[in-house]
Symmetry: C2
Subunit: 248 residues, 2 copies
């Protein structure tokens, strides 16, 4: 069972003010890279695992998807998603929202052309079950595009940059090879993320029956740093891992 | 052109005293994991890229390989390899040693069943050329088993553990996404290694025509830490990346 931190009022209030919450996909600096990993969505059946406010569901709908299923554990998120754009149940889009715990997700077999999951999988405790569920839900040749917090980002016992006596700013990496839950105080106290090594992500995608055809350790581009100079430090350690995997 | 640091007298003298130099494969803690990635060598044609003192060449010869070609840039290493065990040119084994710069390596097409490279590729400046040369030299279905210093290990501007005011020991990661040469003072001043991200290694293996079927971010096992307690810190950041890639 994944922690439902997005239904914690303090966390949700803080999360609601992040650029990616206010501005949607254009507020997520890794979105242009993720978008490049997507197939043409016209006529495709799409599932978004951890859909949050539904920004991607709406984008997929506008891109001509035949159907879009958004799944999330948080009532808060789903209520916002439904309110800000209609639900197919309400007759005005091809989007349906559904509440499920992704650690126990049930999906119909061979039913989707694309599975998408943005910054969600590090909240799940059972990566094997999840990747196998996604693989079964995809048609052969279907694609899974996924972003997670990078293992270098999730590993440390104290995940904040530090400045040494010489003024050098570094990321204090430790316990990288010790996989398991990490409790951090990001937006609210006691947020539980599951740290896994990059090798574990790749091995588990293979075992579940995927070919990992692209893997990007995301950092801001020179153009992005020019626009937002404080992002330069993000090049010191990657924050996001982006994976394009194809069902074999 | 790769730096020929192993022909630097100070470096070579220090390197000659490392456990892996004195004890051979059994002095390399990652060897049991690498060995698991190898096929049965009986009757196989093997090339060792960066063969050093020839420990692996001798192991492959004893494992029944049909032929073993060991390649290195360093005259020091090759002289020691030839002296400590005969060369096929001398009539007593199936091993041949050859001097080549691996950044400009020339290998015959479709001629090897296994390519092996231990802790060498991070010295090379042209990963694309190298992986493509290895792929062409392998038969279809041939295997490339390779270890490199892990990108987390090669990235930092100051690659040593630090202890903070609270006594916490961490690895001061920075400039991970800034690829390129790194000059360190390991065993001798001015050793040049080429830092690449894990994403770049994987992407380049794919582009060259390999399937990466195993990727291990190596750390010591519980049993190894029991034998050598000071290795426990190696779990804080992986030192080696082990890759099994198969020619498609």
């Amino acid at each position: 069972m994944a922690q439902n931190i997005y239904d914690d009022d303090e966390f949700f209030a803080a999360y609601s003010h992040l650029p990616r919450s206010v501005e949607g996909l254009s507020g997520a600096p890794e979105w242009p890279t993720l978008r490049e990993m997507l197939p043409d969505l016209a006529g495709r059946r799409v599932v978004d695992l951890g859909c949050g406010f539904g920004w991607f569901c709406r984008w997929a709908d506008e891109a001509g998807a035949a159907s879009v299923l958004g799944i999330d554990l948080s009532e808060n998120m789903l209520a916002r998603a439904r309110a800000s754009m209609g639900d197919a149940d309400m007759g005005d889009t091809r989007i349906t929202y559904q509440r499920q715990d992704l650690d126990a997700v049930e999906l119909p077999d061979d039913s989707f052309d694309l599975a998408y999951s943005s910054l969600t999988v590090h909240y799940l405790s059972d990566l094997a079950r999840f990747t196998e569920s996604v693989r079964r839900a995809l048609i052969p040749g279907g694609r899974f595009v996924c972003s997670v917090e990078h293992p270098i980002y999730t590993a440390p016992s104290s995940p904040s940059f530090v400045t040494d006596a010489a003024g050098r700013v570094t990321w204090p990496l430790d316990q990288y090879l010790l996989e398991g839950p990490r409790t951090t105080d990001w937006l609210a106290p006691g947020v539980i993320k599951h740290h896994r090594t990059l090798g574990t992500y790749l091995t588990q995608f293979h075992r579940a029956g995927f070919m990992v055809n692209e893997l990007v350790e995301w950092g801001p581009s020179a153009e992005q740093i020019e626009l937002v100079p404080e992002w330069a430090i993000e090049r010191d350690r990657p924050m996001f891992l982006l994976i394009r995997a194809d069902r074999t």
